[in-house]
């Protein structure tokens, strides 16, 4: 079967709470079997968007289609969609089996079929033997598995997860990233999960929608989002990035020359098609690890910045430096991998240093 790329389709969905635009004109297509992340800072509308998909919140405008069916006005209990709540919402008066079997009652199964489905779900989340546990006798990780099993046992077309790992402690959280991803690959169900943790999104998702202020700013694979952020805002949210402001001077040989004031003239590849017009204000974005720190001026080449080392810190697997340039407010952040044991004390704070980078390491961002 061909996986359709608009298995879940949102068109121009908006939701207002009074004057707050919690979700503002969101359109998204999510493919069948995809592990999709909604990533954004607190209050950007991720939960609201997920609740619109689940049918818990009615949108003010726009439409929601799943597998071709228009579900915009369908109530939550009739949608082929299930949700794992942030606090898991395990029914405290039911044991593990009863929790998992809760949603099977309307499916008209025989007792044996129901029991088999519950056993399968228990096995899927590796909770065999826990069926008769009271739901108040579970650890956080076990509660999460029960919540997952309770949703998966319904064989939903889409599983919604609201910050599924945020209630777990750090070690378990990192373990569960891998497990949740493996589980999704195994069951093949479309997962849409909400997180404000970029590392979580990068490590788990096939594609990520970055949201802010109720809008989707960019939808892309983790690699593309990191390497080719579309805007300064997205770039700042995913990892860290140095922003060098300037204006376009001209374009030649597929490279754009940017006059970056005190930083001199810098060469950068245009992103997307077409170079920006001369005089246009632009920003060059460079990730700290794309910069190379030198203790003397390089023999030749463009894209060299001279500055003063203001801070050097040894962080185990990498070194981190700040370099300030006269006339530029924000110090430039540089990271270098400690691939061979070097004495970082060789870098004396206050000394003159030079920074350089490969042209493809920088991004041209339109302001």
């Amino acid at each position: 079967m061909e996986n359709r790329s608009d298995f879940v389709s949102l068109r121009d969905v908006s939701k207002y709470f009074g004057s707050v635009r919690a979700v503002d004109g969101v359109s998204l297509d999510i493919a069948q079997g995809e592990f999709f992340a909604l990533l954004g800072p607190s209050g950007c509308g991720k939960t609201t968007l997920l609740r619109i998909l689940g049918g818990f919140e009615a949108s003010n405008s726009g439409s929601v289609h799943i597998d071709g069916a228009n579900l915009t006005d369908e109530p939550a209990n009739l949608r082929p969609v299930n949700m794992v709540f942030q606090n898991y919402a395990i029914f405290p008066h039911l044991n593990v089996r009863q929790n998992i079997g809760y949603g099977l009652r309307q499916e008209g199964l025989s007792a044996a079929e129901m029991s088999q489905r519950i056993d399968e779900a228990l096995a899927t989340v590796k909770l065999e033997g826990y069926g008769d546990r009271g739901s108040t006798e579970l650890s956080g990780g076990q509660r999460q598995r029960v919540a997952l099993a309770r949703a998966l046992v319904k064989h939903p077309k889409v599983l919604l997860l609201d910050e599924p790992l945020s209630a777990l402690d750090k070690n378990l959280r990192e373990l569960m990233r891998v497990e949740l991803r493996a589980l999704q690959q195994k069951v093949g169900i479309t997962f849409i999960f909400v997180t404000h943790d970029q590392e979580e999104a990068l490590s788990m998702a096939d594609r990520i929608a970055v949201m802010s202020d109720g809008k989707v700013r960019q939808v892309d694979t983790p690699e593309h989002l990191y390497e080719a952020p579309a805007t300064r805002e997205v770039a700042a949210f995913i990892g860290s990035m140095n922003f060098l402001d300037g204006s376009v001077e001209g374009a030649a040989n597929g490279m754009v020359t940017v006059n970056a004031g005190p930083l001199g003239k810098l060469q950068v590849k245009p992103s997307g098609d077409g170079a920006p017009a001369a005089g246009e204000a632009v920003t060059i974005g460079i990730r700290p690890e794309k910069l190379t720190l030198l203790d003397k001026a390089p023999a030749s080449g463009d894209n060299v910045i001279k500055g003063r080392l203001t801070a050097a810190s040894y962080l185990g697997e990498r070194n981190h430096f700040f370099v300030s340039v006269e006339g530029v407010d924000a110090p430039i952040s540089v990271a270098s991998q400690n691939s061979s044991p070097v004495d970082h004390k060789g870098w004396i704070e206050g000394s003159e240093v030079w920074l350089t980078w490969k042209p493809e390491g920088a991004r041209l961002l339109l302001s």
Partner: protein, 273 residues
């Protein structure tokens, strides 16, 4: 050593105070059962001898039994009506945010602090004005007025500790609003509901002032007792009756409190069969 002795005295002092307090509080009440078994019409020491005849008289008294049945009817309907209203009000107060929520809660609590005699007069005037026949129904209506705030506060305290996501999870798993109420909300609220039924029952059963103003020709238990106080001969029977009510109230309140504190009840075995 010295400080220890000193604090020992302090503790002893507090213990004596505590005992005196309890004596003051409960000994008068304990006179009821004591004299109800005393073989004399006079309520005075020394005690004359043990008897259960006042209890026999009590059970033989048709008027008293009528009053008892009347009180059961009134208190039974009051507890059900006020608890249903309380559950609905508490759900509204805990699940939704609406304009005027806090003033509404305050107004709801008002009957608890308005003196009974004022409420009684006001309701009597209103009943006359509206042309209601005074009867057990007007008594019950007045009792619903004062029992509903009770029921609402008991239910609010139960529902506040209750995760609203549970109801959404139930909807998510395919249950409608109504079945969600029966499969999730009701079982989790049950200890509160039972406590509310018992407390409002007692509240109505014991209530005198409103019943006094609003009764027609049928008496409730407190009215009957009051009417008997004019006849010293009947006093021991009243004491026997009082002793019974006291015992029943203590048991009901203790049970209500115990139920209310029950967290999650054990899982029903019939689920998922």
């Amino acid at each position: 050593m010295k400080t220890r002795a000193k604090s020992g005295i302090g503790i002893r002092g507090l213990t004596i105070y505590g005992i005196l307090y309890l004596v003051f509080l409960y000994v008068p009440v304990l006179f009821l059962p004591l004299f109800s078994f005393n073989d004399s019409i006079h309520i005075s020491f020394p005690l004359k001898g043990f008897t259960v005849k006042w209890y026999e008289h009590m059970f033989a008294n048709a008027e008293l039994l009528d009053a008892f049945v009347n009180s059961l009817k009134v208190a039974g309907s009051v507890s059900v009506i006020s608890t249903v209203l309380g559950v609905m009000a508490a759900r509204a107060f805990t699940r939704y945010r609406f304009r005027g929520q806090r003033p509404a809660l305050g107004l709801l609590a008002l009957p608890l602090v308005v003196p009974g005699i004022i409420l009684g007069i006001a309701l009597l005037i209103m009943s006359k004005w509206a042309g209601f026949q005074l009867s057990l129904i007007t008594i019950a209506a007045a009792h619903v007025l004062i029992a509903t705030p009770f029921a609402t506060f008991v239910m609010i305290s139960r529902l506040e500790g209750f995760d609203p996501n549970l109801e959404e999870a139930s909807r998510d798993l395919g249950e409608s609003g109504w079945t969600t109420f029966w499969r999730v909300t009701f079982p989790l609220a049950l200890p509160g509901i039972v406590a509310s039924l018992l407390l409002t029952f007692i509240e109505s059963f014991d209530e005198f002032i409103l019943a006094f103003f609003l009764s027609g020709d049928e008496a409730t238990m407190p009215l009957y007792i009051w009417s008997q106080l004019r006849f010293p001969r009947n006093l021991p029977v009243v004491l026997a009756l009082g002793a019974c009510i006291l015992a029943a109230s203590i048991i009901l309140v203790a049970f209500a409190e115990w139920v209310r504190r029950q967290g999650v009840s054990p899982t029903p075995k019939s689920e998922n069969q």
